[in-house]
């Protein structure tokens, strides 16, 4: 089994590990890489721009961190691309991070766990390894 490595630079000088993602091939956004988040999260602002139906979500589910939110919509993105890697059919929670955090959400485990992930802080890289069939 060979593995292809996709090296995605962190946004520099941002104090948090953040990367640019492309959602549904339409909107690029900055998400914070969060291995402590079970699911990817996007802001209401971004969900509205993408035309995601928050009034008829897949389900409502609270988010728990230091506190706990009221139930928030869980919706499905057609595709999320980070670097050269694309994940299709991604469930995301729609929730606004505090305004003091200037990002549009969290890149959580339901995307990261599709890959072998390395956070290389020395080189400022999120490295995603995807298994490929050997030829």
């Amino acid at each position: 089994m060979r593995q292809r490595a996709d090296r995605v630079p962190f946004l520099p000088g941002r104090r948090l590990v953040a990367v640019r993602v492309t959602l549904n091939e339409l909107d690029d956004a900055v998400l914070i890489v969060d291995t402590g988040a079970e699911r990817t999260v996007i802001s209401q602002h971004l969900a509205a721009r993408l035309g995601l139906d928050q009034t008829h979500p897949l389900r409502l589910q609270p988010l728990a961190g230091i506190g706990q939110s009221a139930p928030v919509p869980v919706v499905r993105l057609e595709r999320l691309r980070v670097g050269a890697s694309t994940v299709v059919g991604v469930e995301v929670s729609v929730y606004d991070l505090p305004a003091v955090i200037r990002a549009d959400g969290l890149l959580g485990l339901n995307v990261l766990n599709r890959f072998g992930v390395t956070l290389d802080f020395n080189r400022g890289l999120l490295i995603l390894r995807q298994p490929e069939q050997a030829h």
Partner: protein, 79 residues
């Protein structure tokens, strides 16, 4: 319309929200390039330019981001 890189935008408009139409993609955020559509310290100022541009260019790749640090000064984020 002039094509600028994210690195150039960040240098020219520090600590602002930026709306860019991506015309040249790159994995490195700083090397992404495109048309600068709007910029402002107030994110709300970008909404009308976004909607106006999207209404005419429905398949455009639009990128909105902040050119400064992601976390406000004096705050420690623990997301």
């Amino acid at each position: 319309m002039e094509i600028v890189t994210v690195a150039e935008v960040e240098q020219q408009h520090p600590n602002e929200w930026v709306l860019l139409e991506v015309v040249r993609d790159h994995k490195d955020h700083a090397r992404v390039a495109g048309h600068l559509l709007a910029h402002s310290p107030d994110r709300a100022d970008l909404e009308k330019p976004y909607q106006d541009y999207r209404a005419v260019h429905s398949r455009a790749r639009l990128y909105e981001f902040y050119t400064g640090t992601l976390v406000a000064e004096g705050v420690a984020a623990i997301v």
